[in-house]
């Protein structure tokens, strides 16, 4: 029910970079839905593009799962679908590798980096810190369009004669550098590099924007230590991305040089296709260092936003403050910092100096400490809560479960000595699909269910959400848990079939189980898609604050104005987690409520006072002894 009346801004806050000053009256379809500069619309663009990419990525994985489970059966529909890549109804070995490569690239970069950060940073940062829009809405729009073109280029590589890039999502040279090494390293790889290059531009544009918005555009009273953890997480994610993606640019540029201009950054002493190449002096290990210098922070770029989302969702739905707010911030900062000095744990057996392996093992296992703190704090948040099982709460709990499971195997692979026998096996696949493919995806689902009303003004169906969660939760464990055991039997990843030597044949039955679970899990996503799109148009209308939440985004009208708040931007007086505070009327106190209105529930801690409550005084408590020590139940 958007009425123009509520649209009209009255007094405007002075920290605006962008005001709803009436130019949206002339808004056309093109400026509103396509080249939009409104952060909420851009968030939706990122979300839907990311979801489409996610569905495609999932489809690709189902294709190669079919190959793994039924290596000697033919599937005519595959040929109908894929043509020359699946002649006779069987996926060809080189196309299998193309599938795993593009699956990995899409999921890591397009869904879980751009789709996740792009959606929630755009949607939530301005809303939660009290800003009318991003620092630079124009750059924000560019960020989306670079991303969109990157998606098109990546998908376009399926139409290349020789097929898309097929050297794995990490595209290690020389395999990725030499077209004669694998068909996908021809034009397909060029497309991959162009796409990733565009993608990085998009990330940098977005990241600069997120960081400057958080640092400069917080509303009055919104100090850094009153920011919701979601914003903290998205902010730190942007910092990580901004510092690490440029290093990937250098890796990519040097690879482009090696491929197209005859340089030898990564190439040395190669005899391939009956020919000795002239390159000498390069090092393939250099590429790995550059790649993983991004690559490890990248995995935290993927999980960190969901830390924020899950903190918020758990707290709102348990009706309890997040446990250890400051510890949560500190652990995220520790993770962010440490994530820059652990990259070589992906290279323990790459041939680098073993001494380095030892050092990186130490740093790697240190990073598990703040990760553990986060898990414990989540559990403590549930303790003695009053848990309301909305779909987002289910997904948030599921995320914590997957994060624990996957984090624990991180301790295995982070141990250099153990990694000797685990590296590049299905154990690693299990590890990162639990933390990334499950935990991060569940965090993203939690965010979508939770903030759907802020995007579309309606609610998603809860019952579909329940079904979606339970099917996906069970399926994900059925898919990824058995993979640990394949890894412990030494089954290498990226194998087209396990039957070549007869050693891994016993795992084919397990592969069938995994594939069937994956298909069921995939089907469960149809429920989500249906629910999502149905709810956009026909969902139950949302109220302004459907989850009884404290954060600022729920003080904006349901109509989602350009500029966010019809009048002044609200001021902030307290931290965002005053849920179920003793002495308060409701079980939540929004951030906009000043302490002077909540005398009965204030506690000395609210004023940063740690000591003995008896000695505490504050202007609100002028001599009244009773009120000085409230909240003792």
């Amino acid at each position: 029910m958007a009425t123009i009346a509520t649209h009209e801004p009255t007094g405007l806050h002075d920290n605006l970079a962008h005001t709803p000053d009436g130019h949206h009256h002339k808004e056309t379809f093109l400026t509103k839905y396509v080249f939009s500069q409104d952060h909420k619309m851009i968030a939706k663009q990122f979300l839907i593009t990311g979801m489409v990419m996610g569905i495609i990525g999932m489809g690709l994985s189902l294709l190669f799962r079919i190959q793994l489970a039924y290596p000697d059966q033919t599937f005519p529909f595959l040929e109908a679908l894929l043509g020359r890549f699946a002649e006779g109804g069987r996926i060809s070995p080189s196309f299998y590798l193309a599938l795993v490569t593009i699956h990995g690239t899409i999921m890591v970069f397009f869904l879980l980096t751009a789709g996740l950060s792009g959606t929630f940073a755009n949607l939530l940062i301005p809303l939660q810190i009290g800003a009318r829009d991003m620092a630079s809405p124009f750059m924000n729009m560019l960020s989306f369009w670079f991303f969109f073109v990157a998606c098109l280029v990546m998908l376009g590589s399926f139409f290349i004669e020789a097929g898309p890039a097929s050297s794995g999502w990490t595209v290690y040279p020389p395999l990725s550098a030499l077209p004669q090494a694998i068909p996908g390293s021809g034009l397909g790889m060029t497309f991959w590099l162009i796409s990733i290059f565009l993608f990085i531009i998009s990330q940098v544009l977005g990241g600069i924007n997120y960081i400057s918005t958080v640092l400069n555009m917080r509303t009055q009273g919104m100090t850094m230590t009153k920011m919701p953890l979601t914003t903290w997480a998205l902010f730190l994610t942007a910092v990580l991305g901004l510092l690490s993606f440029p290093v990937l640019v250098s890796a990519v540029v040097l690879l482009i040089f090696d491929r197209s201009f005859g340089t030898s950054f990564y190439l040395s002493d190669i005899f391939i296709g009956g020919q000795a190449l002239p390159n000498t002096g390069g090092s393939p290990i250099l590429y790995q260092h550059l790649f993983w210098f991004l690559g490890h922070p990248e995995v935290y770029i993927v999980i960190m936003p969901t830390f924020g989302i899950v903190s918020e969702v758990l707290s709102v739905n348990a009706r309890k403050p997040i446990f250890g707010y400051r510890a949560m911030i500190m652990s995220m900062m520790a993770i962010a910092g440490l994530s820059f000095i652990v990259w070589a744990h992906h290279m323990f057996v790459s041939g680098m100096n073993p001494f380095l392996g030892g050092v990186f093992m130490i740093t790697t296992l240190i990073i598990a400490v703040p990760s553990a703190v986060k898990a414990f704090n989540y559990i403590a948040t549930l303790w003695r809560g009053n848990i309301n099982f909305t779909p987002q709460m289910l997904f948030a709990i599921g995320m914590v479960s997957f994060f624990i499971s996957g984090g624990l195997t991180g301790i295995w692979v982070g141990n250099a000595a153990l990694d000797i026998n685990l590296h590049d096996t299905y154990f690693v696949i299990a590890h990162f699909h639990l933390v990334m493919g499950s935990a991060a995806v569940f965090g993203m689902f939690a965010g979508i269910y939770h903030w759907f009303p802020k995007m579309y003004g309606r609610l998603m169906s809860k019952r579909s959400g329940y079904l979606h969660f339970w099917l996906t939760f069970v399926a994900a464990y059925l898919v990824f848990f058995p993979m640990h055991f394949l890894g412990l039997d030494g089954v290498p990843r990226r194998y087209y079939e396990f039957t070549a030597f007869g050693m891994f044949e016993e795992w084919i039955e397990v592969n069938k189980l995994i594939t069937i679970a994956a298909i069921v899990g995939g089907a469960a996503q149809l429920i989500f898609i249906y629910n999502f799109f149905r709810s956009i148009f026909w969902g139950e209308r949302a109220t302004q604050n459907p989850w009884k939440s404290n954060t600022l985004e729920w003080t904006t009208p349901v109509e989602r104005l350009h500029g966010n708040w019809p009048g002044d931007i609200p001021h902030v007086h307290r931290w965002p987690y005053d849920y179920s505070k003793p002495g308060a009327e409701d079980d939540f106190i929004p951030q906009t409520v000043p302490y002077s209105e909540t005398i009965s529930s204030n506690v000395p801690y609210d004023f940063g006072f740690h000591g003995d409550a008896e000695g505490f005084t504050h202007e609100f408590y002028k001599g009244n002894k009773e009120e000085r020590t409230p909240a003792k139940d």
Partner: protein, 391 residues
């Protein structure tokens, strides 16, 4: 609604009509292209119809539940479906079933994993594996009991209120330092082992040296021969006869052996010198806990000592076909999955016997071929790169 129902029954009808047809269609029965195309689309249609029907069923179920809720509400009983309790209970069920599933997995699929390592450092690996498994399993189980148990226990109930508990410094210090201590132990344990396994300064003197070189898509093996020294090699010298590009002008290369499998004596330290001719590969012998990437332009190394012969392993595992295989474990091209070589561990006398049977590569034959290659008659043609196994 009614339109949808009609559509639905139409789909059901199509399904019935086609399904008898479809079920008869077996893979491989698609003889001519016409029926092939038809068969494909039938299959696609079949599955679309199934999915739509299931979806329709779910939608109807949802409607029924909604109607039920509305009617109970109207009747004033206020008895809505207790979704909160249902979800909470499902978490409890999930906890029990999940823990059972975990132990079932460990028991059933765990039994399919690698046998105890027949190598010196592999024993350390196994010990570390066990320690890490116990610690992480313990944490896994405890945290899940807490997580899912709390989810059940603290579900929203009538009149209940959450406990305002924003932080507890002491608790947080405890659960920061306990993992820190446990991880320190694991780090120390791991560091010592890693150092012992990989630090060249810590390895036994006078190991048996074997060079293993990966290329698309097989492994080439070279033993130094009686002089105990490998001849130098240069990738520019590679020809179809001299697959490794060994420099046969040097004396040390003349006795080099190039067998088609890796054979090692039991109980003797081994130093693998690893190399690659084209892209990165990885020499991976999971049964022996050996892995190291092979990198073009840079030799890499791995040291280990087998402690059991292949025959002993066969007896021990009860598998008469047991073999150690060296796989390629770094994506290296189309036939990456099909690139393994056998590793046989023999008793010392058998090994000596085997060694005696090997002929140096620098045979008269080779000499001739090299000469003709030099005079340009045999161009450098690619080696046979068929996907055949090399054992």
């Amino acid at each position: 609604m009614s339109l949808r129902n009609k559509l639905c029954s139409l789909l059901a009808l199509t399904l019935v009509l086609f399904s008898s047809n479809l079920l008869a269609v077996q893979p491989g029965e698609f003889g001519d292209t016409v029926s092939e195309g038809g068969g494909v689309w039938l299959t696609v249609l079949f599955w679309t119809v199934i999915i739509v029907l299931i979806g329709q069923g779910l939608v109807i179920l949802g409607r029924v539940l909604q109607v039920y809720e509305l009617s109970t509400e109207a009747a004033g009983t206020k008895k809505r479906i207790p979704w909160n309790a249902i979800n909470a209970s499902l978490f409890l069920i999930m906890l029990v079933v999940g823990l059972y599933f975990t132990f079932w997995e460990v028991k059933v699929h765990g039994a399919l994993t690698l046998p105890a390592a027949p190598s010196e450092h592999g024993k350390n690996w196994d010990a570390m594996f066990t320690a890490t498994l116990i610690i992480t399993m313990f944490v896994f189980v405890v945290t899940h009991i807490l997580l899912l148990g709390f989810a059940f226990k603290y579900r929203k109930k009538k009149g209940s209120k959450a406990f305002f508990y924003p932080h507890n410094d002491r608790l947080e210090i405890i659960w920061t330092s306990v993992p820190a201590v446990v991880l320190t132990l694991l780090v120390v344990f791991g560091y010592v082992n890693w150092n012992r396994m990989t630090n060249p300064a810590k390895q036994a003197e006078d190991p048996i040296v074997v060079e293993v070189v990966g290329r698309q898509f097989n492994w080439l093996v070279r033993y130094p021969g009686s002089d105990g020294e490998l001849g130098p090699r240069d990738y520019k010298l590679i020809t179809s006869a001299n697959t490794l590009g060994v420099d046969f002008t040097t004396q040390t290369s003349h006795d080099d052996l190039m067998p088609t499998e890796i054979v090692l004596p039991v109980g003797k330290p081994v130093k693998l010198i690893l190399g690659s001719l084209d892209v990165i590969h990885s020499a991976y012998i999971p049964t022996l806990r050996v892995q190291m990437n092979t990198v073009p332009g840079m030799p890499t190394f791995f040291y280990f000592t087998p402690t059991m012969t292949t025959d002993e392993m066969r007896a021990k595992t009860g598998n008469p076909e047991f073999e150690h295989l060296l796989y390629c474990n770094k994506i290296c091209g189309t036939a990456h999955y099909n690139m393994a070589i056998k590793v046989r561990i023999l008793s010392e006398p058998d090994y000596q016997q085997w060694l005696r049977e090997q002929q140096p590569v620098y045979s008269d034959d080779m000499k001739e071929q090299l000469q003709s290659a030099q005079s340009g008659e045999v161009g450098i043609s690619p080696e046979n790169k068929s996907l055949a196994l090399n054992y």
